[in-house]
């Protein structure tokens, strides 16, 4: 029997999970919005960030919240290398080849991690992991609350950057019309490099925070890639507000379905949402309808 208390708990943890999903999805939506490339290896970079956060704690005793400041620059650098090493060459190729490249990258990183770190589950056991905040009848674990807060801050910061800075205007210009932006004298290469740098860099914030609430293993990223797709498409590709809304919806739906049905059925719910969203509002849940 699902009581009100259980329902309230499901809502609270659903929203907290949703905020974490948003933290993963926001980088993906930025990269797609600007470059029109779907990065199937997005989750694998999250996996790298989680390992980096774990080793910062295990080897140097750095708290995950502080590790963000080390892992984020690292991930940004990886983003730049990824652009110059691989994605730049893939942009000229047909869609199917772009897909194959990022899928190959995802397989490659997963299995390199498997060779290097073995398949063991690792976790940062923090003292504060057992503490929680009471919200009405429901409880929210402290690390989850921190991750949710970080997610909201990050999305707000990215939104401000895109709205207010010249750099943001250039990114939005490229997202709206690649050719138009080039004609206005915007260098595509630099914008793409920065988009990937920031898009992958956001995972540097997510990874360490997530490593204290979720086991790290080589396959952890794949789980998030699929959910991030759902969120990004439901929210409208390249739309931050939509990504946040989509993420909260997915988190809520999953956790409420989990309260009623088995975990497997709850896991199918985001994909059902995706299909409904794609058929019903292919341009995204909150996109403005463009007059033609």
């Amino acid at each position: 029997m699902v009581t009100f208390d259980i329902f309230a708990q499901a809502v609270v943890s659903g929203l907290a999970n949703g905020a974490i999903y948003a933290l993963v999805a926001v980088g993906l939506t930025l990269v797609f919005g600007v470059m029109r490339i779907i990065n199937f290896a997005h989750g694998e970079f999250l996996m790298i960030a989680m390992y980096a956060g774990y080793f910062a704690w295990a080897l140097a005793g750095i708290d995950p919240v502080l590790a963000i400041f080390i892992v984020t620059p690292l991930l940004m650098l990886i983003g730049v290398l990824l652009y110059d090493g691989i994605i730049r060459r893939a942009l000229a190729a047909p869609e199917i080849n772009q897909m194959a490249v990022t899928l190959g990258l995802s397989l490659l990183l997963q299995n390199l991690a498997l060779m290097t770190f073995k398949g063991d589950n690792l976790l940062i056991p923090l003292a504060r992991a057992t503490e929680s905040i009471a919200i009405g009848p429901a409880l929210l674990q402290l690390p989850q609350a921190i991750a949710a807060l970080a997610s909201l801050l990050l999305i707000a910061a990215l939104w401000l950057v895109l709205r207010l800075t010249d750099f943001g205007i250039m990114m939005r210009a490229v997202a709206q019309s690649r050719d138009g932006a080039v004609l206005c004298g915007i260098g595509l290469g630099a914008v793409y490099r920065w988009a990937l740098c920031i898009g992958i860099g956001t995972l540097g914030i997510t990874g360490p925070l997530l490593a204290s609430t979720l086991y790290v293993n080589p396959h952890v990223g794949a789980l998030f890639t699929l959910k991030a797709f759902v969120i990004v498409i439901a929210g409208g590709l390249g739309n931050f507000g939509g990504a946040l809304l989509g993420a909260l919806l997915v988190g809520l739906a999953e956790s409420i379905a989990g309260a009623w049905f088995s975990a497997s059925i709850a896991a199918a719910v985001p994909f059902a949402l995706l299909i409904v969203a794609m058929l019903w509002r292919p341009e995204g849940l909150i996109a403005r309808r463009v007059a033609r």
Binding site: N97, M99, L105, I275
Partner: protein
């Protein structure tokens, strides 16, 4: 002009003849043909019609689970369940196709939508008690092997999958050189232009997708009999759908037999690697083939099968 794939056909038949003496070789042959057939069928939709499905494991899973369920729960012969499996897969493909094409999902969007359908099936089967949940189902041995399709020897399996593969290649060749094939390729190259010229794109996309689904369902049914065990991860997982793409990219999507070439390179190669390197380094073979995939997708987009033509042109 699509020529009859005579050389691949002869090579496959020769491969079967060479492998009959050795159980291990026959196993590699069967797996190569099985994945080769699935990849060729996937490529009919993806490479020739432009329908980039990332959810073909759904149809493979339908084939495998229909047979496994009929055999374990009702003791029926796989021969009885096979037409049913193909029927269910085709009906599902038509339903998914109608939904996606009606709402104009293309390219990436079609891929992600099909992926979502197959993931839903994956999780629902993982929760379904009557389908063995995530533990899977074991097919019982016994009875007349030509009825239960549970052979002790490997060669009957090799013969069966050889027939399926040859039938797929011949059907694909016949369709591609007929009007259907030209319509498919016109849809792939420019859907709007094809429609403007009067190609009934909706029907031909549905036909391509459903045909591809039907063929991989046959392969799924074969898989259930051959391995005698099905579980969601092996027949419904995303990894399986992605594998078909990998074989096709490596072999070449512009050729009917390109995906078969991809499978014929990668499957024996990963078997060899497993023998040389051993099971201790589990990820090594995937690392190598992922690197190959990235390199080919970037530098030889036509796949290995196109190498010959390239040299002749330049």
């Amino acid at each position: 002009m699509i020529r009859f794939p005579l050389i691949p056909v002869l090579l496959v038949v020769a491969g079967f003849a060479a492998a009959t003496q050795d159980r291990y070789l026959m196993d590699v042959f069967v797996l190569t043909c099985l994945y080769g057939t699935m990849a060729v069928a996937w490529n009919l939709a993806a490479g020739f019609t432009g329908l980039l499905s990332l959810g073909h494991s759904l149809f493979i899973g339908i084939g495998a689970y229909t047979v496994a369920y009929g055999v374990t729960a009702h003791g029926l012969s796989p021969w009885v369940m096979l037409p049913l499996a193909v029927l269910i897969a085709v009906v599902c493909a038509l339903a998914i196709g109608v939904l996606c094409f009606r709402y104009g999902l293309k390219g990436y969007y079609f891929g992600i939508a099909t992926l979502a359908f197959s993931e839903i099936a994956f999780f629902l089967v993982s929760a379904a008690v009557w389908l063995g949940r995530s533990d899977g189902m074991m097919l019982p041995a016994g009875g007349d092997p030509w009825i239960s399709l549970q052979f002790r020897a490997k060669w009957p399996y090799g013969l069966m999958i050889l027939v399926v593969l040859l039938a797929t290649l011949i059907a694909g060749w016949a369709l591609l050189r007929a009007k259907t094939g030209y319509y498919w390729r016109s849809i792939r190259d420019n859907e709007e232009a094809a429609e403007a010229l009067g190609v009934p794109i909706f029907g031909f996309k549905l036909f391509s997708f459903a045909l591809s689904a039907g063929i991989v369902a046959v392969c799924g049914a074969f898989y259930a009999c051959y391995v005698a065990f099905v579980d969601p991860r092996s027949v419904l997982g995303v990894e399986l759908s992605i594998q078909l793409l990998v074989f096709s990219i490596i072999g070449g999507m512009g050729l009917l037999w390109g995906p078969l070439l991809g499978a014929a390179i990668l499957i024996p190669a990963s078997e060899l690697l497993r023998i040389w390197i051993g099971a201790s380094f589990y990820g090594v073979n995937i690392v190598l083939y992922a690197s190959l995939l990235i390199g080919l997708a970037l530098f030889l987009p036509q796949g290995l099968g196109a190498l010959r033509w390239r040299r002749r042109v330049s």
